[in-house]
């Protein structure tokens, strides 16, 4: 079983003309419905649906309240290594970019953990550049021994692994897996990932599924918006989420909508994804998959993040550092991308209270 079979059926569809065929009345019909089909989801991603963002937002808000209430989970990323073996045109960690690389020692992991814990956050995600040598299962398991003392839930966003490796990490206490496909278009994918194991499209595409099979409690997927037509990317992302939900009932599926950000390379996205585009993608997804988590990162500006809170988001990062050792030694290293919201955890908590939301610092206990 693989989502690749679904992708193969979709890949040659004339997405642009199909989106353009959708009319305002098609959108109005979909907005009357309770449960949406894949075709309905497609309709809400069309240019015609741009005129209905407010209606979509109202429904998305109601659905999110119904399923998640006035709560917002907060988490932080912990970058442990920036060694990478891939060449990805859009990423600062790309092996072609020359900068002093480093990986945290266990003492440094402990210091970073203490710094994060002091901020009051109990849910974190371990991130690294993609290198099987530098972020090996063994290294990550050792890190987990330390992190378990401080955090109630620990996620993983490193290079794709085999199912057995994930099983080992689940055993060590890691409960969440995040893996971005970057772009679902296989040809663009090949152009952007010129060297390294990341070139293997299908292995990456099947990664979330391996995570589900290995017993990850939650798996988050997404496309990096700006690498291809965002409507098509959002549609396939939603279908991928739905596929995982249907096949792995006991895994909580999350979707994130990151946009390409400035980075250390010279890559400039060809496709500009506006705030309005991103909002449409998020709203359509919420209406299609009412129970999916929607994760919002600090890639976005404070002004925009404030407005996105009631539109379906269930989990957001706060006070993120995207540098290795960035919580204790901020000047030392290369960040993976520039973050746009530099507010402290306390400021984000305050903001959520003002908006009528309860910040949830802990939503799972490693058992």
């Amino acid at each position: 079983m693989s989502f690749y079979n679904v992708y193969e059926k979709l890949k040659d569809q004339p997405f642009k003309s199909l989106f353009d065929e959708i009319t305002a009345s098609d959108v109005e019909n979909v907005l009357q419905k309770d449960g949406l089909t894949e075709a309905d989801y497609f309709t809400l991603l069309s240019p015609a649906a741009e005129g209905y963002l407010e209606e979509m937002a109202q429904k998305a808000h109601q659905l999110t309240l119904q399923h998640f209430g006035y709560t917002m989970q907060l988490f932080l990323p912990l970058y442990v290594s920036d060694y990478c073996v891939n060449t990805c045109k859009y990423c600062s960690f790309s092996v072609d970019n020359v900068f002093p690389r480093r990986r945290l020692t266990m003492e440094e992991v402990e210091e970073e953990a203490q710094a994060i814990y002091a901020m009051g956050i109990e849910q974190i995600i371990i991130l690294s550049g993609e290198s099987r040598v530098h972020s090996s299962v063994d290294y990550l398991s050792k890190i987990m021994k330390i992190l378990r003392k401080y955090f109630s839930s620990v996620g993983l966003e490193v290079q794709p692994m085999d199912r057995e490796e994930y099983e080992e990490l689940v055993e060590s206490g890691i409960d969440t897996l995040t893996v971005f496909q970057e772009t679902y278009d296989q040809e663009i994918y090949r152009d952007l990932h010129t060297k390294g194991p990341k070139r293997f499209y299908k292995y990456r595409l099947d990664t979330p599924e391996r995570g589900c099979q290995a017993g990850m409690r939650s798996v988050t997927i997404g496309a990096l918006l700006g690498l291809d037509d965002w409507r098509k990317e959002s549609y396939i992302t939603g279908l991928h989420g739905s596929y995982l939900q249907d096949n792995y009932l006991d895994t909580e599926i999350g979707i994130s909508f990151p946009r390409v950000q400035p980075n250390a390379g010279s890559f400039q996205p060809e496709i500009h994804v506006t705030d309005q585009n991103m909002v449409q993608a998020m709203l359509a997804l919420r209406l299609f998959l009412p129970r999916a988590g929607i994760i919002l990162s600090t890639r976005e500006t404070p002004q925009l993040r404030d407005q996105l809170i009631p539109l379906g988001v269930t989990k957001m990062s706060a006070a993120s550092s995207t540098e290795v050792g960035g919580y204790t030694q901020p000047e030392n290293t290369q960040s993976q991308f520039e973050i746009s919201d530099e507010r402290s955890v306390e400021e984000v908590r305050q903001l959520l209270h003002e908006k009528g939301y309860q910040p949830v610092m802990k939503d799972w206990q490693i058992v």
Binding site: L65, Q66, H67, F68, G69, Y70, T71, G120, E122, S152, R217, Q245, D246, L249, D250, T251, E252, I253, R291, H353, G356, Y357, Q358, V360, M361, K362, D363, W364, Q365, V367
Partner: protein, 261 residues
């Protein structure tokens, strides 16, 4: 008139149980629970800081209430058991609502795993209340395993769709001896009344109160609705019929023994 609900020897005057999830903040939650007069309040152990760092949601639960920690987040019996033990070890008492949900799409409970967890936790001295998908045989097995109450869902959690599982629950009310608490799906006070009128022993409401525009007023409304439904039930509801029944029958003079010359 005294009409307490008794669960594991504890007498409860209120038949409205409340949940603590989904509230915008703890002070609103506290006030809503106070106004609901609820005496049983469920708390997700997964959301509680177990290290005693002072950020404890439990501190915001009014004293009138018995704490009923729940195992939400558990996907297997084993996880539910471990979570229940964590809650007890951190001083949350020995009542536990078992929630084992392995379906993350509709959040429907897994009855088989719930039965397994019930057996283990009852043995360990917990007072176990089972959240479940309405099914008579599963409920009987939970009862046999020692569950102190059975909590069938009215409709999927958070759906506010009312008691869609009515027929199944009605059978369970007739056949199960421990209290039946309808949990999940109740979206309106009138639906809580309906639950009580049909003979449920109590209801558990969370989403409908927590996500109301005025959660405190809604909590009061549910309190009144549950009392009204219970009063109607014990007063003996008239039978419903498709045909009109005259209150002064015309054939009342006919008796089986009268006449017959």
């Amino acid at each position: 008139m005294k009409d307490p609900l008794v669960i594991a020897g504890k007498e409860l005057e209120s038949r409205l149980f409340t949940g603590t999830g989904k509230f915008a903040d703890h002070s609103v939650m506290r006030e809503a629970i106070e106004q609901s007069h609820s005496q049983v309040v469920t708390v997700a152990i997964r959301r509680v800081d177990l290290d005693g760092s002072g950020k404890h949601i439990v501190n915001d639960i009014p004293e009138q209430a018995t704490l009923m920690p729940n195992t939400s987040g558990a996907r297997t019996a084993e996880e539910a058991v471990r979570i229940a033990r964590l809650g007890k070890a951190s001083g949350m008492g020995n009542w536990v609502k078992i929630e084992v949900i392995s379906d993350q799409k509709y959040l429907l409970p897994d009855n088989e795993e719930t039965i397994k967890a019930t057996k283990i936790l009852v043995e360990e001295g917990f007072v176990v209340l089972d959240y479940m998908s309405p099914d008579l045989m599963a409920a009987k097995r939970m009862e046999e395993a020692g569950a102190a109450a059975i909590m069938p869902l009215g409709s999927p959690i958070g759906s506010n769709r009312g008691i869609r599982m009515k027929e199944m629950i009605r059978i369970m009310i007739d056949e199960i001896d421990v209290p039946i608490v309808i949990d999940a799906g109740i979206g309106k006070p009138s639906e809580a009344t309906e639950a009580m009128e049909m003979g449920a022993d109590a209801v558990l409401v969370n989403t409908a109160i927590a996500t109301a525009e005025d959660p405190v007023a809604m909590a009061k409304a549910f309190d009144m609705a549950v009392r009204a439904g219970r009063m109607a039930y014990i007063s003996g509801l008239g039978q419903s019929s498709l045909q009109a029944k005259a209150s002064s029958p015309l054939t009342g003079f006919l008796t089986s023994t009268g006449g017959g010359q």
